[in-house]
Symmetry: D2
């Protein structure tokens, strides 16, 4: 058994980490920090944890956290970059669910996140925690940058097409729909039930912080070719789930067909425990993966438009955040990759 600390666990990513870790046979959560709720029982803040976790929130304390075997950051951006170094120095491994170490281009990060980066040297060391791409590096990492929720779905949707040079990487589109939990637990009027239910809308059309992170991953998959992606996120009236509808014009309509695309996906994700390529004719829905770490993917070929349409559905709080973080931890500590992640999604 190892010990785990969670920094900033008062939000939805935090409670999901706690839910999943409670069922993990190798980990005991020993510290859960929150400046604001210091001294409050965690299970009072999150009623689903009543009877499962007997721990109070404590103030963040880098030294004490450094004594944990692993520390998760479930904080807004620009927190982990301040204190991750101290925890690493204390001997802990660090898994950051925020954006601080995801983007290798520091100037780009600073542009999108509007502040100076305080630990550029850690960005260099950090491993991007998408196991389907970086499993080997994750194994040896001290510091993991867990991918964002949109980037996970969109990269998994497009990787097989780009790695196999099947589509025109200069004309990609990702139309993504996210449940409201993607905005976190902050009390903003736009996420009130009365504002966000019974409506759908796009946002950040002019540019979203996840865009450079996605591009970075897609360009790596394309062997360094520049990628142009139009990415439009949508706020969808549901709690959990992301559905990414991706449009990719095929490179050579004379050779492309549905079977070829289907084969590319099945081959790419053969053996992956948490990517499920659906059989031809089935399409994913976010309800099929609610509460589970699986990303379900379908690929369709529209011959008349020479267009591949890839649908990827995930639970934004699991495969898009806490579940993926635990998947990385399992790899780092040499456990079964699916330890603690075998729970079946809740349906209905």
């Amino acid at each position: 058994m190892i010990s785990a600390g969670i920094v900033g666990a008062t939000g939805y990513t935090g409670v999901e980490l706690l839910r999943l870790l409670a069922g993990h046979g190798q980990v005991v959560v020993t510290r859960v920090t929150s400046r604001e709720l210091k001294g409050t029982a965690v299970a009072r803040h999150f009623p689903n944890l009543r009877g499962h976790l007997d721990l109070d929130f404590s103030a963040p304390d880098a030294a004490a956290l450094g004594e944990c075997d692993v520390v998760f950051f479930a904080t807004p951006h620009a927190v982990a970059m301040h204190s991750a170094a101290r925890m690493l120095a204390g001997g802990a491994r660090v898994i950051d669910l925020s954006a601080d170490f995801r983007i290798r281009d520091i100037a780009c990060w600073e542009h999108w996140y509007g502040t100076a980066h305080e630990s550029p040297e850690l960005v260099e060391e950090a491993v991007y925690g998408l196991p389907e791409v970086n499993r080997g590096q994750i194994r040896d990492a001290r510091l993991i940058a867990v991918p964002g929720c949109y980037p996970t779905a969109i990269q998994l949707a497009l990787l097989p097409l780009l790695e196999n040079r099947l589509v025109d990487e200069s004309r990609l589109i990702a139309d993504a729909k996210s449940g409201v939990s993607g905005a976190g637990r902050k009390a903003a009027a736009e996420y009130l039930l009365c504002e966000a239910s019974e409506s759908i809308s796009a946002y950040a059309v002019a540019g979203h912080r996840h865009h450079p992170e996605i591009i970075q991953g897609l360009e790596a998959a394309s062997g360094g070719e520049p990628v142009t992606l139009t990415f439009v996120p949508h706020l969808t009236p549901m709690i959990r789930g992301i559905l990414a509808t991706c449009y990719a014009p095929v490179r050579d309509r004379d050779v492309c067909n549905a079977a070829l695309l289907q084969g590319a996906f099945e081959q790419r994700y053969a053996g992956e425990p948490f990517v499920q390529v659906l059989p031809p004719g089935e399409l994913p829905a976010t309800r099929g993966v609610r509460g589970s770490n699986v990303c379900e993917i379908s690929v369709s070929y529209l011959e008349s438009a020479a267009m591949a349409v890839v649908l990827a559905a995930e639970d934004n709080l699991v495969k898009g955040a806490a579940g993926q973080a635990i998947q990385c931890m399992n790899i780092m500590f040499g456990w079964s990759e699916s330890e603690g992640l075998e729970g079946i999604g809740l349906l209905p």
Copy 2:
């Protein structure tokens, strides 16, 4: 005052027609037909009409309906084509909210709707009831084919771009999100609250019946140029509303810019009572038009991808069905185009 009959008014389009006609100063509804509910008070079936409509459902009777000044068909497809001719012969004008007279290519219609068309001559006569395109012809029509819900949003989103030759009409994408009322009131498991809420999914990726209707309209706007459109509809966990997110690569990135696109939309829809082009930087949400006949549109230009992104939000039951039908009726009878359609949407 004129008299109106509604055929098949037990579904959501029917009740919306009744709601809107009850507030219309020029029309009295005199017949509401339903084979199944014959003899039942309409207001018992639709509780919002209690106290507003004192009428029972009657069996459909073409002769009696033909004596109405106007007959609305709120039926599934392949009903109006059987009996519209008799009502026209009786002297009524006919406004069909189903698909029977929308597609001019009879073979294409028969392919998509899986049955032989019984009134091809009426297809020729019918006017496609999109006032923003066909206002003049609607004025003189005896028979109106009211556009489908998706086709309304997507055509309004793309017309200014195509008419002005601003975009490449061979590479259009429409990613559309519809509330569940678009599926009608039929009791199918997939539309149960427990199946359709808290989830989003795509459907009919391989081909949707509204696709040829949309193409027909877009090609007319393009001066006959062939249009290629990838259209993916999505079932969204809400009752009402369609949001169409349309992607159109601009034809000439050297001259295109946001102001030019914004201008094209504002000019195209200047004076239109039910199309609202939003100012730059504002994006529509379906909640802004719930219960109203307005289609709200924003256009954005993503310079790096040379991509126009157009968002169109409408209430699928109003501008996408019953409201548009009444708008057509107003034009046909020479009344103010917004008579009965001035109600403000319900928010929240």
Copy 3:
């Protein structure tokens, strides 16, 4: 045409007033105030008003408001009591949708609202704006205290039973379910979609501010007999609507029966434009009155328990707030009581 001002119109009661007044033939809204949004177009804050209201929020200005013919307060409690007097002095009539003038017992009000009342003399003058009880007094009033949302439903549910001495007024229970809009538009975590949807819970079991207001009305209906009511409100995962399920043990089981109860309700509300007593066997649902000013009521008699069960459904923002305020205004100014309130509810 008269002029109307609205103080504090940035919340849901405010937008509902604006929606309904826009369709009112006798009123022009000339001032809409908000300290915070001063200078912003109202239609930018409330997208459903785009194209319907060309007015900016202005800072509250008692003198200017006093020049309006009528001023609505759509503010939190303890605002109207400060400035209503000045507006009355300016010649305006005042319709307060907050709690400031509802409770005649000043000490009781101060206990529940936690502050000293600044205008006790106006409490004495104010008329409680429940037309079904106080129609005559409303006609002559300068100052109206519009009832709360729960009190409206619960009083309408119980009045016929109490006025006719049919039930034991010492053992009443009201189990009320409210949509989330009842909490207003304030950004509190508990009303986020992710917290309030897919869940139901009771709150304020130990005591709710509407309790003394309800008791005051019920005791008046009982001819001054003391009334004991257990009132438990519930937060229900929907935007609009209140359903009050009221339990009243009948006084004399030997004479009571279903027909007698049904008759008492039908007689009591005969001629009431906005109370609809359902026929025996039909039960109300909040969806039947969404967006309308109607309160639907059913009464059932459970013989084995000698219990009357009354269900009252209303739209909390309409009959429970803005619609009732306009109904009062119509009475005050001698217009048709249903002017501007004839819109049909939105279904589905």
Copy 4:
């Protein structure tokens, strides 16, 4: 490891059994029957099971099922009574989640379920599967009648009050709110998203099938005293969850107080793994137990009305059905009572 069969597993109770059994260390599901879906992969019907269950639906076959160690009936009423005897004869233990063996008074059962009972002798043998009452008998039973969803919540809410003679058992009220999954997966118009969302309504006010089952349990708790209960169920716009708000007038207001009630509940449920009595001042919400087998209960005392108000929240598909069935199985087979039931609820 034992083998389990599930009869009629195409509904929500069925999929919940499969979800929970997949995580149970002592059970392998070997047969899942459905006449209609015979030959279809279970995981195709229930997408959350993809990758977790490699089994097809088979036609029901009493002989084959009798070879299982345990058979669950997740069928509508009047199915288990036909074939349970054959399975018992085959050696299987039977856990029936339907109503067939719950009510000991055969005439009463036949009245409410509208058909003749075919196995009255099994009713005599069957043990009512509420572990908090019948743990000892469940241990030795061959046949379990799992309680209904409403009866579970309402009995757990009222037992401590009745067993301790604290309240007047002739004047009880249970106002219960259920998510739509309580109606099962049948395609009926009233449970469509467009009908059941954004609305709340009562139903079966005149009498609900669960009423006699509840009375039977409450009278046993009262030592045979006759109990009068007014029970009104409500359809609530959410997928899962039941909240029962129970009102019980205290017998002796001179001695009753909040601490006494709180103590009675804490003592009654001390050591119960799946009943959580909340500390004074906290109230349950259904979201706190979504997906978990816990029933959360609060008790409040309203002194002025001498009324105990008890709130009980459960997941109707877990503690109200599948979870309770598994809890019974664990007791029957001598395993830890919480085996397979330790999963934490999903929040948000």
